[in-house]
Symmetry: D3
Subunit: 279 residues, 6 copies
C-alpha cells in the first residue's frame, strides 16, 4: 500500500466516524426549481474543497473545528429533473440522522432543500420546532409561475409544519407585496437580536440563504440582491444564537459557477465553520 501522505478530501476538521459524531454535515446538491440562475448543485463539493483555505480555529468563538464533533457524510445523489423523488431522498436521510440522535447541517443546493429537512425534523420536535430564517428574499410565495414546489415558496411550504409564530426572518429585503403583507401580518421579520428571545426554549432550526449577505461579498448566488448584511453583521447574529438550542441548520444557494474569484465560496465555507461553532 501507498504511504502518501495523502490530502484529506473531506471537510477540514471533520470526525471520520458517523457514529461518534454529534453533527452530520450533509451535502444536498439539488437545484431543480431555480427561477433565475442555477448551479447551486455544485456548491457542496466546491465549499468542501475550499475549506482547507480556512483555519480550523475560530477567533470569534475561541474554538476549533475539532471541538464541534461533526462528520462530513458526503453529498446525496439525487435524480435531477424529478423534484418529488429528490425531496423524498433528502427527507429520508435527514430523518435517519435524527433517529440516530444527531443534528443535521445541510449544505445546499437551492433553498427548497429546507422543506424536506423540516418535514423530517418536525416529526421529532412537533410544535417545539422554531425556524430562524436568514435570507434576502421572503420565500413566501404561494406558488411561483404555477408551481407549488419551488425555492421561492420554501418558507410558506414550511408553514405546513411550523406555524408562522414559530418563524422569524432576518435580513429580508425583497419580495412581492403579498409576501410583505404576510410578513407584517404574522410579524415574522425582525431587526433586533432580542426579538429572538421567545425562541429561547424552542428547538431552533437555522436556515441561512447566503444571499442574506450583501452582493458585494456574495456575488456567487442565483438571485443577488443589493443592500444586504456584511459578514460581521451575520456573525453578530451568530454570536447571539450561541445561547439557543440549535437542533439543525442549513446553508444554501451558493452558485460556484458565478463566483469567478472564488471569494463567495470561501465566504460560504467560513459561514459554515462559524455555524458549526454555535450548534
Amino acid at each position: 500500500m501507498l504511504k502518501g501522505p495523502f490530502l484529506d478530501r473531506n471537510w477540514m476538521g471533520q470526525n471520520p466516524d458517523y457514529n461518534k459524531s454529534d453533527i452530520i454535515m450533509l451535502g444536498i446538491p439539488f437545484d431543480g426549481t431555480v427561477s433565475y440562475r442555477s448551479g447551486s448543485r455544485f456548491a457542496p463539493e466546491q465549499i468542501r474543497l475550499a475549506s482547507p483555505g480556512l483555519e480550523e480555529y475560530s477567533p470569534v468563538f475561541g474554538k476549533e473545528l475539532a471541538d464541534c464533533n461533526f462528520h462530513d457524510a458526503g453529498d446525496l445523489e439525487l435524480p435531477l429533473g424529478n423534484t418529488k423523488k429528490s425531496l423524498d431522498i433528502i427527507e429520508n436521510n435527514v430523518e435517519q440522522i435524527y433517529k440516530d440522535g444527531k443534528k443535521v447541517l445541510g449544505i445546499g443546493g437551492e433553498h427548497l432543500v429546507t422543506y424536506p429537512e423540516i418535514r423530517a425534523i418536525s416529526k421529532f420536535y412537533g410544535d417545539d420546532l422554531a425556524i430562524i430564517h436568514f435570507d434576502a428574499h421572503t420565500d413566501l410565495r404561494e406558488e411561483y409561475l404555477t408551481e407549488e414546489l419551488s425555492h421561492s415558496a420554501v418558507i410558506r411550504l414550511r408553514t405546513k409544519y411550523v406555524k408562522p409564530e414559530n418563524i422569524k426572518q432576518i435580513g429580508i429585503r425583497s419580495g412581492t407585496k403579498a409576501e410583505w403583507d404576510y410578513m407584517y401580518k404574522h410579524n415574522t421579520l425582525i431587526k433586533e437580536y432580542d426579538e429572538l428571545d421567545l425562541f429561547l426554549n424552542k428547538k431552533v432550526f437555522v436556515t441561512v440563504d447566503l444571499d442574506v449577505l450583501d452582493t458585494s461579498i456574495m456575488s456567487g448566488t442565483g438571485t443577488p440582491e443589493a443592500g444586504g448584511m456584511t459578514f460581521d453583521e451575520l456573525m453578530g447574529w451568530f454570536r447571539y444564537l450561541k445561547n439557543f438550542q440549535i437542533i439543525g441548520a442549513d446553508v444554501v444557494e451558493l452558485s460556484p459557477d458565478y463566483d469567478t474569484s472564488g471569494c463567495s465560496t470561501a465566504v460560504a465555507a467560513k459561514v459554515i465553520r462559524e455555524l458549526l461553532m454555535i450548534m
Copy 2:
C-alpha cells in the same frame, strides 16, 4: 411621440409580420432537466442580442437574411420546474405554426425541447418525417437517473414519433455502450454526406445541438466534449442540406453564462443565420 432612431431589439433581418413570414423563429428558454451545467434558458435572448454583431449577408450562400423571410416571435414563457406543462406549451405553439402553414426554427434551451417540437410536427408529416441530428452525444438513453423526460433521452423519445430508420446522426462522439450499440444496430450514425441521400424525398427536421462543434469554438455549453467539428465542417453539411426539404429546425444547448468571451454566443448566432439560409 419620440422620433428616435431606436435600436431594433429583434433578431437582425427579421420580418416583423408573423402572417407574411415563411419561417417562425421561436425562443424556447427551457433547461429544467439538464444533468451537468445549466443555463441554456438564457440562450435565446443572448443570441438575439448578439445577432447584430454579424452581417446580414452570408457569403457562403450568397444570400441575405431578408431573403429568408423569417419572423422573430420572441421567447415562450415557461413554468420553470414543471417539465410536462412546459413541453405542452412548446408543442401547442409549434403545432399552431404548422397549422398556419409555416416552419419553425426553435432556439433552445436544452435539447429536450426538440421532443415537443417533433410531437407537434409529426402530426402533419407522419412517416414522411425524418430527423437529421447534429450532436456530440447520442441522446439515446432509455432513462437518465430514472427520469424518462430528460435532455439525454431526447432522440430515443422521438423514436416514438419517428422510426430509427428515419433518423441520421452526425458528429456523435460520446454515449454509453448501450447507446452506441443502438446506433450501430439501427445504423443511425453517418460520416459521409451521401448517406443522407435516402432522405431526399423526406420532410426533414434538422436539430443542431451546438456541442457538435468542438469545445474550442463552443465552450459555452452544458456538456463540453472534445474532438468535435470545426465551424467549417458544420457548414459543409449545411451546404449539402441545401438540396433537402427542410420543414423545421432547432438550435439548442448554448449556455451563455459559461461563455465568458461571448464567442460561443456569436458562433450560435452565425449557425442560426446559415441554417436560415438553407431552410
Copy 3:
C-alpha cells in the same frame, strides 16, 4: 397567431403606452469618449434583461413599479464615433419628452449623456433647474486630453446651463487638485442630507454615476474607485429626495462586460427601480 405565453422583453412593470405614461425610460447606449474602460453602451439592454430578477415591489418605499407609471421607450440608435451627432439625437429626444409633458429617466451609456439631457431640459426650466450629482469623480475638468466633449467634463459642461450654486455633488472622492478647488470654491460637495434643502423649491435633475457606489458592489464600471457608498447609504439619500420635485434623472456608467458575476447589473437595476419610486 401564436398564443404563447411570451416573455415580456421590456423593463419589468412598465406601461406599454408612451402617451399615458408619466416617466419615459430612455436607453442611451453611448460610450464614445470614455478615457479608461469602455462598454457602457451595452448597459441599457443588459439592465433591462436583469430587471425581472428583481421584484416589482419596493419594501423601502412600500410601492410597486406599476405605481410609477413609466414607459420603457427602448434604446436610441446612435452613430458611434460621431460624438456631436450622437449628443444631438439625445437632446432632440429628451426635448420631445418634455414637450409631451413627461419626465425622462435616461439609462446610459457614459456620463457625457447627461450633457444633452440638461441642454434639453434647461429650455423648459431655466434657472429653476438644479442638479444633484452622485458620483465618485468630480467630472469638472475643463478639458480631458484636449477634448472639450468628454465624460470627465460633463458637470463642468453643464455649468453652461446650470449655475454652480444650483449643483450639489454627493459621494465625490476623486479628482484633480483644480477640480477639488473648484468644488470648494463653489461649495458644491455636500455630506449631509439637509444641505440639499435649498433645492426644495427647485426643479431637480438627479444624475447617478454608478461608481458613486463602492467598487465592492459596483465592479462593473469604467473607472472603479475605492471608498464609495454602500447601497444602503445611497438609499438613504433617495429616501431624503422623496420630498423634492424631481423632474428628470439618469443612471450612467455601468459596463456590463466587466461585471463577470452579473451583480453590478443587478445593482444597477435596483438603483433604477428605487429611483423610479421617488420620481
Copy 4:
C-alpha cells in the same frame, strides 16, 4: 544606485537603440470608432507583458528575435475622443520612421490605425505600395452608421492611397453584399499563395487583423467571427511572404479585456514574433 537585477519591461529581444534598429515597433492604443466591443487600446501593453512567455527563438524560421533588429518605441499617447487628432499623431510618427530609413511594425489598437500608417508610407512609395490584408471582415464600407472614419471602412479609406489592384485580402468571411461585390469586382480576395506573386516587385505593407484567426484561438477581439484560420494556416502565409519586400506591417484588434484566459494575448504576441521574422 540599485544593482537589481531588474526585469526588462520592453518587448522581449528588442534593440534598445532606436537609431541602430531596422524595425520600429510602435504601440498605437486607439479604439475610438469601434462598432461592437471595444478595448483594443489596452492591447499594445498587454502583448508586451505577455512577450516573455514566449521564447526568443522561432523554430519555424530558425531565427531569434535578436536577428530581427527591432526597437520597441513604446505606445503613443492619443487624445481619446478626437479621432482626427489621433490619426494625425499616428501619421506623423510613422512618417518620421520612414524619414529615418526604417520600417514600422504598428501594434493596434483598432484597424482604423492602418489608415494613417498608409497615408504616411504612401508618401515614400507611391504606386509601388501594395497591401496584403489578413482579416475576417472586408472593412470596405463606404461609411458605417454615417461616419466616414471608421474601423469598418479602413481598407476602402486606404484606396485613396493604394489602388484596388494593389490590395489583396486573405481570410475574409464577413461583409455586406455591397462589400462582397466590391471584392469580386476588384478581385481583391485570394485563396492561393501564388495569387500574391504579382506583388513580388512591390513594396508590401502587411496588415493583420487578428480576427482573421478563428474565434477558437482568438476570442479576445471586438468582433469574433467563426470559421477563421488556424494559427498554422496563418504561418503558412507568413512563410510564403518571406520572399516579399515587406516595408511595414501592423497587427490590430486584440481586446485583452475579453481574453479571460490570456491565450489570445499570447497568440497575438506569437503572431508578432513571427511577423518580425519575415520583415
Copy 5:
C-alpha cells in the same frame, strides 16, 4: 447509518481496491517551480470532479473504464515551497506502486513531477525504459534562471536516467535555440507514427504535457502556445500507442484557475480516460 444514495467522489469508473487494481492513478498537486502562470496544484482534484461529465465508454477504443481496472489513490500532500522534499515523496510513492507490480498514472501538477516518477521507474526497467513526450515545449533547458530543478528542464533532467536515444518528443513547437539544436542532434523530435517503432520492444513511459494541445482547446495551462495539436490528432497518436508496452504515464500542466469555461478541465479528463484505455 445513512442510506443515501451518495455521490461517488472518486474518479468515475475506478476500482476502489488498490490491491486488485492494475493501474494506480496518483494525484500529484505540485507546482513549485512554474516560471509563468501557476495553479496546476489544483488540477488533480478538479479533473476528478469533472470526470462524471464524461461517459465511461470510449467509442474510439470500444472499451469502458471498468475494463481498465484502475484505482484512484487520491492526491499526495506535498510540502509547498520545498521542492526537494516534494520530489522525494513522489518518488517513494511511485516506487511503491512498481514494487506492488502495478503501473502509475500520475496526474500533475507541473511537468517537473515526471522527474521523480522516472527516477523511481528507472530502478525497475533500467535501459529498457523509453519515454514518449507530448509537449509544446522542449523542456530541455540545462537550467532555468539558474535553478536546476525546474519544470523547464524536466526532460533534460530525465536524461540522467534515460538516454537521449530512448526519448521521442511529439508536438514540440517552442524552445531556445540551444534546445532545438539538442533535439536535432539527438533526433528526439518526431512527426510520423512509425518513428516510434524502435520502441516496440521497450517499456514505454508516456508523459503528456497538456499544452501539446492547441491553445484553442487547452487555454487553462501555464504557458499557452499557439499552433498545437487538435484533440483528434492526439487521439491518433494514442491509437498508434495501443500496440506498445506502456508501463506508466502522466498528464500534467492543467491550471484550472485559468480555465474559465471549464472546457480545458473536461478535455484533460477525456485525455486521461483515453490514456487509461491504452495502458
Copy 6:
C-alpha cells in the same frame, strides 16, 4: 527620433531620477512559497498599469503624488524556485536604498518579501525599528507544512530582528490557536488608534497585506478572508499614521489573475497612493 507623445509606462507621478528621490518604489515579484492561490508575482506590473486610472491628487491628504517625491525603480528579476537566492537579492537591493539615505516602498509579491526587507532595514535602525502589520492572517506560524521560509511565517520570522513588543498587528481575523495565543501573550493585536502611540518615537515599517481589506473589495488575493476592513477603515488608520516616522513600507499579496473585474488592482493602486502620502 520620434516625437510621440508617448505614454509614460512608469508609476504615475514618479520622479524619474533615483538620486533625487526620497522614496524608492521597488517591485518584488516573488510568490514562491504561497500555500493556496498563487500569482502575486504579476502584481507589481499590473498595479503600475492601473495607476493612471487614478488621479494624482489625494483629497484625503490634500496632496499630489508629485509632493511625495518617489522613484519607480521597476521590478526585481528573481530566480523562481530558489527562495533563498530570491530573498538575498531583495535584501541587497533594500539595503542599498537605505545606504543611499532613502526609504523603500516594496510592492509584492507574497508576504514573505517583508522578511528580507526587515533584515536589511534592521541593520540601520536596530531596536528603534517597529513594525505595524495590517493583515487578515497572523502570519506567525513557526513553520508551515515543515517549511521555515513561508509567507505564513513572515511575522514570526521577523521577530528575529524585531522584538514582539515592537510589533503591532491590525485587522487580524484568522490564524491557528497557537498563533492567537502568541498574539494574546505578546499583546500584538490592537483595535484602537492610540494603541499605536508607544511607537511615536520609533522608526516604523508599515506592512500592508491587502487581504486585511474585506474580500468584497479585495477578491484578487491568494487567501481571501471574510470580515475584513472597508477601504475607508484602512484610510482611517493611514490618517492616524501620518504623525509617525515611517521609514519604509510594503504592500503585498495582490493576485491579479483572480481579479476578474480589475477592481482589486485599482484598490491596490489607491492604497499605495495613499501610503505614499503618509511616508
